[in-house]
Amino acid sequence: MSASYILRRLFWAIPTLIGVAIVVFVLVRVVPGDPIAMMLPPGATADDVGRLRAMYGLDAPIAKQFVVWSGEVLRGDFGNSISLREKVSALVLGRLPATLELVIVAVAAACLLAILLAISAVLFRGRWPELVVDVGTGLALAIPDFLWGLLFILVLGVLLPWFPISGRIDPTLDFNPATSFYLVEALVRMRWDALGNLLHHIVLPALALALPLTAALTRVLKGSLIDAMNQDYVVLARVKGYSRTRTLWRVALRNALIPTVTLTGVQFSFLIGGTVLIEYLFSYPGIGNLAIAAVTQRDLPLIQGLILTFAILFILTNLVVDMTYGALNPKVRQA
């Protein structure tokens, strides 16, 4: 996984990004429902509307608008949000850390859970733990994360009020972070009370987000572990005197992770898309939540900026997954 490989991958991502940008740009401008008219008070004249439209550059032909917008984007200017009257880049960057923290916690939870569940299922093959894991993953895969989020809210937030169901942190808590990376800051500044509160809030949305990924990972990992345990090198480990548990953890797991990453790699980027609904459900102040607001408000610049951001996150996630594969599989590294 050399630097040139990474650069090459990023390079090939550019046409995809351009394609995404064009599609979204055109799509959003075909909108019925005029955002400009929505912004003005009812007594506005056609003249007012025209001037406001010109101010936002929405009166030029689409192609010209695109060129202008692209130029601005390359300079880092994503325009101004029509509904929130702030710079799009500021809005996005302000909320991005929250989503990143949510995603990272979800991915970590998913990986950890999947490994524990898959190993339990293999260690206790033919007994009830395996059955529980199989049925559980089947259910988790069949029911989409949106419904799981609702279930969590209902069961763990309302009926058994163990967890908060909205927001990122208790507003009454005396925690004034300098950045938007609340979790990181709380850790670094050793504010354990804030950390606890943050984690308490993030549990339900992260779990709901992670569940489909966990189920997929567990299934594939279990199959791969069973395959690995039939290999010659596992036989040799047993002959050397390894216990079954040790063989699973130390020998089979590492090998089983390789085909697992290959087969489920794409699911990690689905997680990024999942943040939209989950954040909305839990009123979690990230870019997913912002996206829904932007769409309902027909806020074109904000929508465009957000979609580009999501596309970039997608591509980066896939890149990280590839690099993980390289880290796991030594045979690939020489390339």
Partner: protein, 292 residues
């Protein structure tokens, strides 16, 4: 002098119905090399695997005992058995390309037995591993320790596996066709290596193979198997000079001879194979009659 390994009337049954091993009797004296020969499917590998405890999961020992160093290891609990394995009984597998863990470097795969069974610390284990690799005549042992299995050739990997087998100076090594997967030239070197290490360590070896030539050169004692049964068992010189069983004679006759290349190849006569199968069947019936 009692045997180090004494397999007594061993029966191995698959799924409760199919007999893989039929009243197998075999002895290995300490420090000797015993060859176990036979065609593919004769059950020789299965004998080795049963001793090591790696027979297929649905195969059970339904009769007899495997007595190693005075203890019947078929009756031992799992964890006690594990302590013996790797330390006192080791294994040289057949396929060097798949027997090593592909995602780990060579070093931990050699030092793990040293640390597990001999209690060596990291530095001592590494030093010992280096010496082991030198003993198996691997050039640049430092580089090999740091390498991954896929960076080594088949012959190199087999030497590593041999080093692992001899690492804890076991009393018995079960070698399951260790040269079958290698080139002929490499085969010779590996055989010489095994004999050399065996001599210096005093380890007993159960050498499983279908190659009669190897057995002739290497083994003190030979057992011939067919259909899960041991048909003949004798010191090497005696077996090759005066083979007692008809099947053994047929086997020798079937072996192509370097000095008579123009001869047509002879197979083991079908009638003989048929009769042996019938004998095996009768044995199964008798066993089942006794509720075996």
């Amino acid at each position: 002098m009692s045997s180090l390994l004494d397999i007594r009337d061993l029966d191995l049954t698959l799924d409760g119905r199919i007999r893989l091993l039929r009243r197998v009797c075999l002895q290995v004296r300490a420090g000797s090399i015993v060859g176990l020969v036979g065609e593919s499917g004769a059950g020789k590998s299965m004998v080795g695997r049963t001793v090591l405890g790696i027979a297929p999961a649905n195969a059970r020992v339904t009769h007899g005992a495997i007595v190693f160093d005075g203890r019947d290891i078929t009756r031992l609990p799992e964890d006690e058995r594990r302590h013996i394995l790797g330390r006192e009984i080791a294994f040289i597998p057949q396929n060097p390309m798949t027997a090593l863990n592909p995602v780990a470097r060579i070093a931990p795969q050699v030092t793990d037995v040293l640390r597990m069974h001999l209690g060596l610390d990291r530095a001592a284990a590494k030093a010992r591993a280096l010496k082991l690799l030198t003993d198996v005549h691997l050039r640049e042992p430092e580089r090999v320790l740091r390498a991954y299995p896929h960076e080594l050739s088949g012959g190199q990997r087999q030497r590593v596996l041999i080093a692992i087998a001899f690492a804890c100076r076991p009393k018995l090594i079960i070698a399951d066709e260790p040269t079958t997967a290698l080139d002929v030239t490499v085969q010779k070197q590996i055989l010489r290596l095994i004999r050399q290490l065996q001599g210096s360590c005093g380890t007993a070896i159960l050498f499983i193979t279908h190659d009669l030539g190897v057995v002739a050169k290497l083994c003190d004692h030979v057992a011939v198997m067919h259909g899960g049964r041991v048909l003949e068992s004798a010191p090497a010189a005696q077996l090759f000079g005066w083979p007692a069983h008809e099947y053994t004679r047929a086997l020798f006759a079937a072996t192509p001879r370097f000095d008579r290349p123009a001869e047509l190849l002879k197979a083991v006569p079908a009638a003989l194979t048929q009769r042996l199968a019938e004998e095996a069947g009768a044995l199964d019936l008798a066993v089942r009659g006794h509720g075996g």
